[in-house]
């Protein structure tokens, strides 16, 4: 990967979808570049299109117009199956409600992305433990999510996002379900990951969380309202 090539490049990104008989314009021409190692907060009121942008950046959804390049590769019109494979290899998701599988232990949850990795990963168990160690959850590997606190669950989720060594991590309101002290701890963990070189994009409407990012992109009505660097 050439140094100057952005991890994410949107050009004229548009997304519309039908809702209750009307067409909703969620994104109306977004141009943005995000480079490797950046820590970006996408902010804006609800309905501004930030969730849509995040879903498209995470290849959970596709654009209706414009162009999306991920690590220099045009992924605007690839198949559902290829999107799944790229999600698996290049993107780590962190959700507001953690989204751990309740019947699986912490380490099994971390193993999950490797289950879908092709080709199969040989040292999957060690890698899962290593990821848990990097978030300080090694001692809780055998616990079920219900036996863990919210902050601990989010740490396991972060380990899960890291385990396939993705190009970027997408975090959707990662502290939204946590008390402020635990939320700060999670933010510190995310910041330290960014310091180690991981590209981090987080979606939030919490100004305090946004303050931690190095760059803030504000969306309004599906367009970029402001793009500011700290």
């Amino acid at each position: 990967m050439a140094k100057d090539l952005p991890v994410i490049r949107f050009r004229g990104a548009c997304k519309s979808y039908p809702m209750a008989g009307e067409t909703v314009q969620a994104l109306r021409g977004v141009d943005v570049d995000i480079h490797a190692g950046e820590f970006v907060a996408i902010m804006g009121p609800s309905g501004s299109g930030k969730s849509t942008l995040m879903h498209i950046a995470g290849l959970l959804d596709s654009l209706s117009g414009g162009r999306y390049e991920l690590e220099g590769e045009d992924v605007s019109a690839i198949s559902r199956r290829n999107r799944a494979d790229i999600r698996n290899r290049k993107i780590g998701f962190i959700f507001q409600s953690f989204n751990l599988l309740s019947r699986c232990s912490a380490v099994e949850n971390v193993e999950l992305p490797m289950l879908y990795h092709r080709p199969a990963i040989a040292d999957w168990r060690e890698r899962a433990m290593q990821a848990l160690r990097s978030v300080g959850m090694e001692s809780r590997a055998a616990h079920l999510p219900t036996q863990l606190s919210g902050g601990q669950q989010q740490r396991v989720a972060i380990a899960r996002a890291l385990v396939n060594r993705p190009a970027l991590i997408l975090a959707d309101e990662p502290t939204g379900n946590l008390d402020s002290r635990t939320g700060r701890e999670i933010m510190e963990l995310l910041e330290s990951l960014n310091t180690e070189g991981i590209t981090l994009i987080l979606v939030t409407h919490d100004p305090e969380v946004g303050q931690a990012a190095h760059r803030r992109i504000r969306l309004r009505d599906g367009m970029i309202e402001a793009d500011e660097v700290n």
């Binding site: 879903h55 019947r103 193993e111």
Partner: protein, 410 residues
């Protein structure tokens, strides 16, 4: 390798989370597979014991019955119109080269008296060759001999059931005297037990006297020279069919049956009996197969129903897996494996219950249950197929979910 193991383990865990529900879902498969196993093993056991019974009737044997009475369209069973004679039997013995031995008999139910006890049994007036043709060994004493038949001696051979009912168990009775229609008969032998015929008649509940004695002292002048049936043993197993043809040809000549006219007698080989019995059990097998197929269908629909519920309940889980990179095919396989785990587990439980039930039924019915590996294998493969077939639609539905919608699902 570990991927498949993980998928199966997760499927088992998902099902163990709802034990009662999973068990109820399996019930249709359990009943279906169980009845298939019962049907096959009991059916085969029944068939084998019927075949055994038929072949115990005698070695390389043919049975000839006289024709039937037809009056006003009503056709009675074999032997209702006596047409066979002792002369016919002797002619078959003399003129048919494929025939080894011939015997014949008339049967009459009589009360048999021994001391203070009495017992009703069938009295056979027959020839000295009867025991050989029937391949029927004696427990003690001897069977009728030629001299006794020729001289119409008052001698009798007892079936084992008659011995049981008139004497103490193990009592030596050869030389003792019993009375039939007030005439004294000296016991010269007791036969080994032979069991029931395929039609359920107890073959041991009979006594055997010379046909000459029967005609003169028991039958009282009825049916002179006529017999109820003729038994023929062929020279070898290969000559059974030929013996049948020869006997039929000879009897048509002797009975002056015009070409094209209907025979007034019937010749049956044991193989024909076996075939007829086989056909009856075949029909039973088809019926039970239909029942089993229907219960497997119902069981399969039950699985489909529960899997659809499961897909709805676990929509969010599906969304998470997709976000983490599960392809449509991965989700499809996960739910297919779950459906198959349910149906195969049901199949295994059904097989075990079926084997138990088959053994119990066989015990009660007095034959053996034949449990073969192929029926178990077939049951397992069949239940897996039910799982794949009925699990496919729910799995397809799960795989087709939109990841964003699925992640939003509560």
């Amino acid at each position: 390798m570990h991927i498949w193991w993980t998928i199966v383990r997760l499927a088992v865990r998902a099902l163990m989370a709802y034990k009662v529900r999973s068990l109820l879902t399996m019930l249709g498969i359990i009943i279906g597979i169980g009845s298939v196993i019962v049907m096959i093993s009991v059916g085969r056991g029944a068939n084998a014991s019927i075949q055994d019974q038929i072949h115990s009737l005698g070695a390389n044997m043919l049975m000839i019955f006289s024709g039937t009475v037809k009056s006003g369209g009503v056709q009675s069973g074999y032997g209702t119109k006596p047409t066979l004679t002792i002369g016919d039997a002797e002619a078959i013995a003399r003129d048919c080269p494929a025939v080894l031995r011939v015997s014949h008999a008339t049967i009459q139910p009589e009360q048999i008296v021994a001391g203070k006890k009495n017992w009703g049994a069938r009295v056979y007036g027959t020839t000295d060759t009867y025991a050989v043709v029937r391949d029927w060994p004696l427990r003690s004493g001897e069977f009728l001999n030629e001299q006794q038949v020729r001289s119409a001696a008052n001698v009798v051979v007892l079936g084992s059931a008659v011995h049981e009912n008139l004497f103490e168990p193990g009592e030596e009775v050869v030389g003792q005297t019993i009375r039939i229609k007030n005439a004294p008969f000296r016991i010269i032998g007791v036969l080994q037990p032979k069991g029931r015929t395929p039609s359920g008649q107890d073959q041991d509940d009979a006594v055997f006297i010379p046909h000459t004695t029967m005609e003169r002292k028991i039958a009282g002048g009825r049916l002179p020279g006529l017999v109820h049936f003729i038994l023929v043993s062929a020279q070898t197993g290969e000559l059974v069919a030929q013996a049948k043809r020869e006997a039929e040809e000879l009897l048509r000549q002797r009975h002056r049956i015009a070409p094209g006219a209907e025979d007034d007698f019937t010749v049956r080989t044991l193989d024909e009996f076996a075939d007829m019995a086989g056909k009856t059990t075949d029909i039973m097998t088809y019926l039970l197969t239909a029942v089993a197929a229907i219960s497997l269908l119902v069981g399969g629909i039950g699985i489909m129903n529960i899997m659809l519920v499961s897909v709805t309940e676990r929509t969010r889980e599906i969304g998470i897996r997709m976000a983490l990179g599960a392809r449509e095919g991965d989700v499809l396989i996960q739910f297919l494996v779950e459906a198959m785990v349910i149906s195969i587990a049901g199949g295994i439980i059904g097989t075990l219950l079926g084997i138990t039930a088959a053994k119990v039924i066989a015990q009660l019915a007095g034959w053996m249950a034949i449990i073969s590996l192929d029926s178990i294998l077939m049951a397992t493969i069949f239940s897996a197929m039910v799982g794949i077939f009925f699990g496919f639609y729910p799995a397809r539905k799960a795989a087709g979910l939109d990841p964003i919608q699925a992640l939003r699902h509560e």
